[in-house]
Each structure stands twice: as structure tokens, then as C-alpha cells.
């Protein structure tokens, strides 16, 4: 007998920046999983769509002391006063109380892009063009995710299609909760360095909750008080500082 999933969760991630090599496997896995189309020739870093985007930052030292770090940035799934949800005139953004996931509903979206302006993390992307794949490649699309139309905003939803599939499996087996590791987003599964850990932040026994409490963990722009559910870890102070105050750091780099 199928049972609904009743146990609420607060899904989050811990990303180890000291393990990330910036290979981009998470970006490719994300695009494959969520039917994000390849770039149009005219696309740029400002108009391209990457639900998960890896940024390279530098310690600012000149040759030969330069060192890099790579920061994967995705929707931070803000848990408090979610800025995008607060400004959406269409209620196209919704925070799911059962999972803590910030969902974007393209069917409701008008494309006003208020949410993009409100997002402090630049983690939302606008569809400037109809999604197009090279001839024949439509056959490789994931049947669990509908491609989005031109004129709407989209973003990471922790691979909602996978959550639905995991819930359906659990319900079919008569379980009312998901097992740890039964549901993981594509980027987590793809990371060859094992830098991304995913799970229920409210489950104190989970690996992600343990890492989130770790002394080396921090959240980007934590001072804004949006309570992101993406935690980053690094033992390198300059990486932590850059993530905490990106604007000031950029200014000093250009000074």
C-alpha cells in the first residue's frame, strides 16, 4: 500500500572548497539532468544558463604566488525572508515547507526578473531564447523535467525530479520517509572529488548537518540573514574572506 512521505526535511549541501578542482562536472551533470539547453552562439556569461556555476577566485597575489580556488554557486535555498519569493508578483517562487527547497514555477513566471534583481547570489537565470538542442539531441532529454520556455526565470531546485522519483519509490514500498542517500541531486552524484555532501540539515546524524556545524564551514553573505542552506568549507582564510565580502575584495583587487 502506497504511503505518502510525511516526515519533513530541510535539505541542504556542504561543499568542500579545498576539494573542488573546478572541473565543472557538476555543471555538466546539472545541465544534463535538468534539460538546460546548450548556449546560443550569442550567449555570454551574463545571458547563459547554468543552474550551478563554478566561479574561479584568486588570492590576489601576483606571479608566482598566485593561487586559485573554485566556488560552485547555485541557488542558496534561503530559509529566511527568501528574497526572490518576497518580490515575485506572480507567486511563482515558493518555499516548500516539507523540504525547505525554494521552487520556481515557470508556468506562473511572467519574466519580470524582479527575483533576479533581488537574489544576492546571482543564482537565477532568464531564458532569453527558446530552448534549442542540435538536431536529434532532443532524444537525450530527461523525461522527468520539462524544458522551460523563453521569457521565464529558472534556477536550481535540488533536482526536484529526483526528489519526486525517490518519493514515488518510497511510497510504492510503503515507507513514509526517504532513506539517507536515496535522494541526491545530480551535481552531488557527479562530483569526482566528492566535494559536495547533500542531506537533511535537521537530521543531526546526517553528514551534511555534521559538516555544517564544522568550524571551517561558512555561508556566502551570511550577514544578510537569509539563512542559506548551502554551506561551504575551507581551511584557507583568503577563500573564506573572499566569500564573505566579495565586493570589497573585488574593489581591492582592482585598486
Amino acid at each position: 500500500m502506497a504511503a505518502p512521505i510525511t516526515k519533513p526535511a530541510r535539505y541542504g549541501m556542504a561543499i568542500d572548497l579545498d576539494r573542488c578542482t573546478g572541473c565543472g562536472a557538476c555543471m555538466i551533470a546539472c545541465a544534463v539532468e535538468n534539460n538546460v539547453p546548450p548556449a546560443r552562439p550569442e550567449a555570454t556569461p551574463r545571458t547563459g544558463i547554468t543552474w550551478m556555476r563554478v566561479y574561479q577566485i584568486s588570492n590576489g597575489a601576483p606571479f608566482p604566488d598566485s593561487r586559485a580556488a573554485f566556488i560552485p554557486v547555485l541557488c542558496q535555498q534561503c530559509g529566511n525572508e527568501t528574497p526572490c519569493a518576497a518580490v515575485c508578483p506572480q507567486e511563482a517562487v515558493e518555499v516548500d515547507p516539507a523540504t525547505g527547497i525554494v521552487d520556481q514555477m515557470p508556468q506562473r513566471c511572467l519574466g519580470c526578473r524582479y527575483c533576479m534583481a533581488a537574489c544576492p547570489y546571482h543564482a537565477r537565470y532568464f531564458n532569453w531564447w527558446d530552448p534549442q538542442w542540435p538536431t536529434g539531441m532532443e532524444k537525450t532529454l530527461n523525461p522527468d523535467v520539462a524544458p522551460r520556455m523563453r521569457g521565464v526565470v529558472e534556477k536550481c531546485n535540488f533536482c526536484h525530479g529526483r526528489l519526486h522519483a525517490a518519493r514515488a519509490r518510497a511510497a510504492a514500498e510503503g515507507r513514509s520517509e526517504l532513506r539517507p542517500g536515496e535522494y541526491v541531486p545530480a551535481c552531488v552524484e557527479a562530483c569526482p572529488a566528492g566535494a559536495i555532501v547533500f542531506g537533511d540539515l535537521d537530521d543531526p546524524a546526517s553528514e551534511v548537518a555534521r559538516l555544517a556545524r564544522d568550524g571551517h564551514s561558512f555561508r556566502i553573505l551570511e550577514r544578510l540573514g537569509t539563512e542559506p542552506k548551502i554551506y561551504y568549507r575551507t581551511a584557507r582564510p583568503w577563500v573564506r574572506q573572499a566569500a564573505a565580502e566579495p565586493a570589497r575584495r573585488q574593489e581591492s583587487a582592482h585598486a
Partner: protein, 584 residues
């Protein structure tokens, strides 16, 4: 009281304003957005039975296990196999199922650039081979020696009076296994250790266990993440290796070499990888050959002649297998007989060497035909796995080994050759078989027959040999080190290779190269801001890079991490030459 023109205007204006303030426009927009979701321009993902299938990636020598999620017979996503020694997939592997839809595919065989029936191509190539003179040779450039296909090539060439089985790979790397799990320090002479070297998943899984010293002029991804970066120009690596060896003996005159030696002393065991002469010298000094944490001997190594060592102007017929096309054409052209030479490209692509070929034999891409993955690069033991096709082979395409067998008038098929190899593994009775579906290892002697092993391998499995006992091994005679280019007043800068976009890859690689800026776009020239300013450049400007033999239009990008006096070029082929740059 009449209805005046003013009344009409007031009514129209009021209606327009009222309508704008009513829910109607929002409703219309909402309905339009719903409608637009089903416009013909929005593709509909196919529906069908969803199932898992397994194969092995053959895009590079890592041989990673692949779990494919298929809708019907069509793979819609690829992922690594849990527990597989190679670990997770790289970006190319994750999107490998898109290769079949890339542009520039060869869809039929060509002779002199025009479609040709296979029989015509076979007779033309056979005639060219028969016309080969006594001082001329027939060569097959093998993209990955050590496969059953390589054995097909060797057998074919052995039947000719002057056949050469050659490769462009550095066989030094292929001759040893690397005990990465027990290594505590790696000195890399330009090897992309953190960017695709060996099996990326295996390397990254062990990253926290070893110190990485990157000896390289370019500010590569590996250099940027290394524990110690030593910027040394191409062609001077051996000199630096000698300095490190002296420093290990107590000479502290070279501070950088002394720093490297210090790290090596405090992180044992250590190995050196990358540019062969330098790495070989340092490995000898470190005693890395044949001991735990070093370079291990393994069975099944098949050598092939380095194409660079083939005499110039000696090859009458050159057959180039797919994957060898990253070599600069100039190098291959130099090896060809001056007159009446024939070049055959066995490739899925119309660019690269196919542009210079007299015959193009169109080959399937990854996942379109049954293939094999031999021992992964750096694996401490010999290994073998099959790469079953997940897609139907398009008509008119012939796998390279199959074509060579037809050229040799061999009645067997390529799957027959693979079956023979599997039967030989079963007969030897050594090692274990790791099955992808359940991540279990089974001693090969527990598999009843060669037929059972074949079926197991077709369902997705990896055979791993037993390790050889530790014993001394010796470095092979390796290729010469590249010559260090000398700057001149006309060409005062040094051109070095930077990471460049792959020639053939999924269209989704745009996420890395153009939509995020994570990787340098094609035709970027990265320079230190001081070097740029000295040559009249500004960040992002268009520029012309010139060397004595070539010139390229590029976009200049400033990066203070780049070595002053060099230009890092994100394009295929290592330039390693003196050159200059100017604004255009």
C-alpha cells in the same frame, strides 16, 4: 444630449485605463505563458521504459565504468559506477551520449573528398600499400596501444614487409602502474594531475594523501591548486630535475630545487610524472621504480613505436586512427614520403587529420559500437573491460579495427577478436571481475566458462589482474625533451599551451567555455598585465600572435598569475615557440 468626439475619447481613455488596472492583462499574460510552454519550439522529452544499462567509457585511457539511464534504448544521462577503481566520470564522460549529435561528423566514407563506396576505398588503399617501395613503410597510428584492436593492427602490419605500428602517446606513462594510494608526494613536470590525468576520479579521491609540486610555466588549473608551483619553461625541465637531484644530495645553491627536495624528504614515498626525461631522472634518484608508493610493474604492456622516432619522409601509406588527431599536422606531414603518399583517416570526424586525408573511413563514435577499454592509465594492475554499444551503429560507418580486418581479408569480425581476448583472460584464470550492476568482485575462477565471462563483460564488468610482486623495473628509453625556444628581438616572448576547448565534445560544454567563463574560450591569449602593457595591449582587446611559422588572431586576456614574458595560448597543439603579440 449628444455623444461628442470628446465623450468618445474619454470613454476610450477610461476603458484603457480601467482595463490596465483590471486582472484581465495579468490573466492574459498568465494564459499566454501557459500556452507558450507548449509552443512547437519547446521540445518534448521522449517517453518510454526507463532502465539502467552499463558500459565502459572509451573517450580517454581512464576506462571509467558508466551507468546509463536510458529511456527505451536511448541513454539520457550517464554517471559513474560506485566502487569502480576509476571513480566518477569527468565532464566529457558525463555528456558522452551527446557526441553522436555533434557537428562535423563523417557519415560515409570519402575518397579525395567525395563519397566513395567501401569497396572502392578498400581497393584504392590496397593498391597504395602494394605500390610501397622497399625503403618506404606502411604505418598505422594507433590512438591507444594495448587493445585487441592494436593486436589486429600489429597482425596486419606484420604481414607487410615494412609495416610500423606507431603511436603518439608517451609509452613511458603506459608502461607502469602508479601506486597512487600510497604516494605521499608527486612532482609533476607539466602533467595535468588535477585536470584529467590518469583516472580523474581516482586521482581526486586520493588528493588529500599527497603533496603536489607542479613544475610548469603555464598557470594551469593544476598549477593553481598545487601545494608548490615551480614555473619552469618547457625544455628546461631536465635541468631542473638535475638541480632537484643535487639538492636531494645536499646542494642548496638552487633555492627552488632545495624547496622541492625538502618537500620530497618530508613526504615519502614520492614519484615524478610528466615530461619523460625529467620525470625518469628524478624517479631514478627517488628510487620510485618498483616499490610501494611508486611506479609498479604490471602485465600486458604492449609497446608501439613513437611516431616522432619514425624516419622523416619514409611513410608511403599512413592510416590514422581516431583520437590521434591532436598531433600537429606538420609533424605527420614530415614523416610522409615526399611523393605519392596516401593518408587514410579512420575517424568519426571530418576535421583534424581528415582534412588532409586521401581517404576518410567514417567510424562510429563512443557508444555507437562495441569497443573495449584496455588497462587504464596508471592502473597498478592489468585490466580489461568491454564497452558495449548503447546506440545503434548508423549505416555506412565502420569501426577502425573492422576496416583493417577487411583490408587484411580477415574473415573474422572485431567482436570475434574481443571474444578471443575474453576467452584468453578466462583461460589464464587470474584476477577478479568487478561487476558494475552490484559492485561486487568475483574471482575469475568462479566464472564457469568463457561464454559466461563474455556475457558478464557485456552486461558491464571490469577484469582486474593480480598484482605482480614488487620488483625493480627500469625506465624505458624515452623521447627527447622539447627544445627550449630562444627569444629574439623580433620574437621576444614565449608561446606556451594553455587549456583549450576539446575539438569534439557535447554542445553542453558551452556551460564551461562560454556561458560561465570557468574555462578559457578558444583563441584566448593570456598574458601577465605587465607583458600586455609592454606590448600595447589592453585586457580583452583583439590581438595578433606571431611566431616564425604561424600567426593567430586572439583575444588578449590579462591575468597577473601568468608568468611575465610568456603568452599562454588556449588552442590545440603546444606551440612552444618564440613569438610576439600586438594589438589589432
Amino acid at each position: 444630449m449628444g455623444f461628442t468626439r470628446r465623450d468618445l475619447l474619454k470613454f476610450t481613455g477610461g476603458s484603457a485605463a480601467g482595463l490596465a488596472l483590471s486582472p484581465v492583462p495579468w490573466g492574459l499574460l498568465h494564459d499566454t505563458s501557459l500556452l507558450s510552454e507548449n509552443w512547437p519550439g519547446i521540445p518534448h522529452p521522449p517517453r518510454g521504459e526507463i532502465r539502467k544499462r552499463y558500459t565502459t567509457c572509451t573517450l580517454c585511457p581512464a576506462g571509467c565504468g558508466v551507468r546509463a539511464r536510458c529511456v527505451g534504448d536511448q541513454p539520457v544521462s550517464l554517471a559513474g559506477v560506485a566502487g569502480h577503481p576509476s571513480g566518477a566520470l569527468c565532464t566529457a564522460g558525463l555528456a558522452g551520449h551527446h557526441l553522436a549529435f555533434c557537428r562535423d561528423r563523417a557519415t560515409e566514407s570519402l575518397a579525395a573528398g567525395k563519397p566513395a563506396a567501401m569497396e572502392r576505398a578498400l581497393s584504392g588503399i590496397s593498391a597504395a600499400i602494394a605500390a610501397c617501395g622497399s625503403r618506404e613503410s606502411v604505418a598505422i597510428l594507433d590512438s591507444r596501444p594495448g587493445r585487441a584492436a592494436s593486436e589486429v593492427y600489429r597482425r596486419f602490419l606484420a604481414g607487410l614487409p615494412n609495416g610500423i605500428h606507431c603511436t603518439s602517446l608517451d609509452m613511458q606513462d603506459a608502461s607502469f602502474g602508479i601506486d597512487l594510494e600510497n604516494t605521499r608526494a608527486i612532482v609533476s613536470f607539466g602533467a595535468p594531475v588535477l585536470d584529467g590525468w590518469l583516472s580523474p576520479g581516482r586521482v581526486l579521491a586520493n588528493r588529500s594523501h599527497f603533496q603536489l609540486i607542479q613544475v610548469e610555466a603555464a598557470y594551469s588549473r593544476t598549477a593553481s591548486l598545487s601545494d608548490l608551483r615551480v614555473p619552469v619553461l618547457s625544455g628546461t625541465e631536465s635541468a631542473f630535475a638535475e638541480a632537484v637531484v643535487r639538492a636531494l644530495d645536499g646542494d642548496t645553491s638552487d633555492s627552488q630545487a632545495a624547496e622541492v627536495a625538502g618537500m620530497l624528504r618530508s613526504n615519502k614515498p614520492a614519484i615524478a610524472v610528466g615530461v619523460a626525461p625529467a620525470a625518469g631522472r628524478l624517479n631514478s634518484a627517488l628510487g620510485a621504480f618498483g616499490r610501494p608508493g611508486g611506479l609498479l610493474p604490471r602485465r600486458g604492456f604492449q609497446a608501439a613505436t613513437d611516431i616522432a622516432n619514425v624516419p622523416d619522409h619514409s611513410i608511403r601509406v599512413l592510416l590514422i586512427e581516431e583520437g590521434s588527431t591532436s598531433l600537429p599536422w606538420d609533424l605527420l606531414d614530415r614523416k610522409l614520403a615526399p611523393q605519392n603518399h596516401t593518408v587514410v583517416a579512420l575517424t568519426p570526424w571530418l576535421d583534424g587529420c581528415a582534412r588532409h586525408a586521401d581517404y576518410v573511413i567514417a567510424a562510429p563514435v563512443y557508444l555507437e559500437s562495441l569497443d573495449e577499454a584496455p588497462t587504464p592509465a596508471g592502473s597498478p594492475v592489468a585490466a580489461f573491460s568491454l564497452s558495449p554499444a548503447l546506440l545503434a551503429t548508423p549505416p555506412k560507418l565502420t569501426p577502425p579495427a573492422e576496416f583493417i580486418m577487411r583490408l587484411a581479408r580477415d574473415s573474422a569480425t572485431y567482436p570475434d577478436i574481443l571474444k578471443q581476448r575474453v576467452a584468453a583472460i578466462r583461460k589464464d584464470g587470474r584476477g577478479t571481475v568487478f561487476t558494475y550492476a552490484d559492485a561486487k568482485s568475483t574471482p575469475i575462477r568462479d566464472i564457469a566458462s568463457a561464454e559466461d565471462l563474455w556475457k558478464t563483460m557485456l552486461a558491464g564488468a571490469l577484469w582486474l589482474d593480480e598484482p605482480l610482486p614488487d620488483r625493480p623495473v627500469h625506465a624505458m628509453a624515452s623521447a627527447k625533451e622539447a627544445e627550449a625556444p630562444t627569444p629574439t628581438p623580433e620574437f621576444p616572448l614565449l608561446l606556451i599551451a594553455a587549456d583549450s576547448p576539446p575539438l569534439h565534445a557535447s554542445p553542453l560544454m558551452s556551460k564551461l567555455y562560454s556561458e560561465s567563463g570557468l574555462r578559457r574560450p578558444a583563441n584566448a591569449a593570456i598574458v601577465n598585465p605587465k607583458t600586455g602593457h609592454d606590448h600595447g595591449l589592453s585586457d580583452g582587446c583583439r590581438a595578433l600572435v606571431q611566431s616564425a611559422t604561424a600567426e593567430f588572431k586572439v583575444q588578449a586576456i590579462f591575468d597577473p598569475a601568468v608568468m611575465p614574458g610568456v603568452i599562454e595560448l588556449a588552442m590545440a597543439g603546444p606551440p612552444n615557440a618564440a613569438g610576439t603579440i600586438r594589438r589589432i
